[in-house]
Amino acid sequence: MTYTGKILRVNLSTGKAQPEPLNEKWARDYLGGKGLSIKYLYEELEPGIDPLSEANKLILMTGPTTGTIVPNSGKLAVAAKSPATGTILDCSIGGYFAPELKYAGYDAVIIEGKAKTPVYLYIEDEKVELRSAGDLWGKGAHETEHIIAETLGDVITMVIGQAGENLLPMACISSELYRQAGRGGIGAVMGSKNLKAIAVRGTGGIKIPNIRKFSAALNKIKREDTMTDDNMWTYSDGTPMLVDLCHDSGILPTRNFQEGTFEDYKKINSDAVKGVLKAKKACFACPLGCSNYVEKGDTRVEGPEYETLALCGSNCAIGDIEAIIEFNRLCDDYCLDTISAGNSVAFAMELTEKGIYDFGIHFGEVDKYLEMPGLIARKEGVGAELAAGVRAMAEKYGGMDFAMQVKGLEMPGYEPRGSWAMGLAYGTADRGACHMRAWPTAVEAFGDIDPYTSEGKAKLVIGMQDDNSVKFSAIFCDFWALSTERMAEILSLLLEREVTATELTTIGERTYNLARLFNEREGFNRKDDYLPERIFSEKLPTGTTAGKLLPREEYEKMLTDYYQLRGWDENGIITEAKKKELHL
């Protein structure tokens, strides 16, 4: 068994930190990561709480593969009720934090309450301390991590920047400077608790029977299933390769989703990133090494990833790789989610150009664009408006039809009018517009499935959502395209019992339904599962998607199909029969 069987519960209000046993039944039903953190939140959070109050909890959850030699197992789930959406929120962060926590002896940390003054949490095996973060408060993520490393030595840290301190709904958590738990304002949850950072050092290890045989088997799997042509785009290019693909497919968000192609896409594509590439970098236990560490003058960043190139590049009409790298670095340091920040800036640009409200910034204005991360994070000037996210901006100033968000979460870099199932995936994602719950664009825009039909899309999206749910619970990185059969084979060896692919699919389905149940309890239903009006009624003007939109009636049809196949009623409420079937 690769669970430690121990959870660390830290109450910041009382200052008490105590280990407790892992709930083994829940671990069997939900594995770990996404599923298990949602289970704990569902059971422990009162419905209707303010996500920024001390009633919210922040959970760091590892999984049964964490800390082992299993490829791509270095991720950590970070979960809470979302300040951006009011939904359940689980993020996935790479780097080295998850294994270090496991080596310290914990499957998870549950953080409750609120500290009276800024603190940071320091975990060194059994020793747990709350230390003053008075000197760190107000500092950026990078400086904070450097200072903690200089104070404590070889610890692994997760920190927030000014965005989290200022409780922004687009505040993220950062680790090792460039890794983020990015979406839904997870950093603001830390900020609301006066928790500046978490540092961990773990000196223990994980033992399994026949470890040498296991390692040999996994090395073979690594060679034959992980490091294959299907997955090695990560090393050769990483996510920037998607710029060309999305432009060619007419789904590269440009000028706040007014277009699906960008005239300067070649200035911000994978070749442009390779022009400043310094080194490739991987998370713990990952042979794929998708990250690009780039340097340009004094500006250094691990990135920019595709989402940043799209939302902070083409979507703001910025065709300047150096400017995007600097914007990326600023967002990382302030701890701003680049998807949401890019959307906010682009929305402000469109509102300004349309004369609806003058935010003083137009598409393509590099100098003003580079001022935005600082203004947003510090809530200064127009930054205070952009900091609230596009839905809140639209509520105040107008433009809701082209505020590109679902449930209050800004839209990632795949235009749904050229990938209809992606639209359904955004609408039904548990935390608002998200590309990590299902990514049907891969088989629609880049594959053989017709992007412009509603037929079969509900089934496609459900399959992907359930598969990803169990994948992010086990915990694996998205970028190893592994089958549930392969996952079952690995987990059977680690958990010393027979795990079947069918069981894993059920765990995925159970997890996705539990997330929905959480949202249902918060008042979410069909009315919340829609896309911005622009997607339904404005035709894209250029490229291979010219003249395309996603007709509302087709979306309604996909949504109705989706609920039926899910075993939910017409209003998107989970039926009693489905709850019983999944033991919810």
């Binding site: 030699i69 290890g205 080194a279």
Partner: protein, 130 residues
Amino acid sequence: MKALFFHAEKCIGCKLCHLACSAQNEEEFNPRLARLKITSRYDRNGLVVGGQTCDLCLKCVEACPVDAIIEKQGRLSFLEDLCTDCDICVDICPNQVIVNKETGIGVCVQCHSCANWCPTEALIFAEVER
């Protein structure tokens, strides 16, 4: 004879080498028990990749007062029964890759697990020039 070499420019910092070493030699997944030290971290000046491996300098063999570390045909072995836990070898190793355990020590025995796992050939075994 052959020894382990590290090419920093190829390393992606995945730590699979550490896991492979500790699994093979200590029967647990614990990067701190690996008989090599590969680091890949960001400091104020950017990415710093460092690698320390056993290059068969044999200083530990020479220093061990009870001959508990021996070299035979280009391969080190550790004879636990003879070890007195004096830790002289741990201190003398110029690359700091001898693991100091509660009882005894761990030296690189050229099992090649690390290089077998390295996804980018940053770790390779090659002929040592003397």
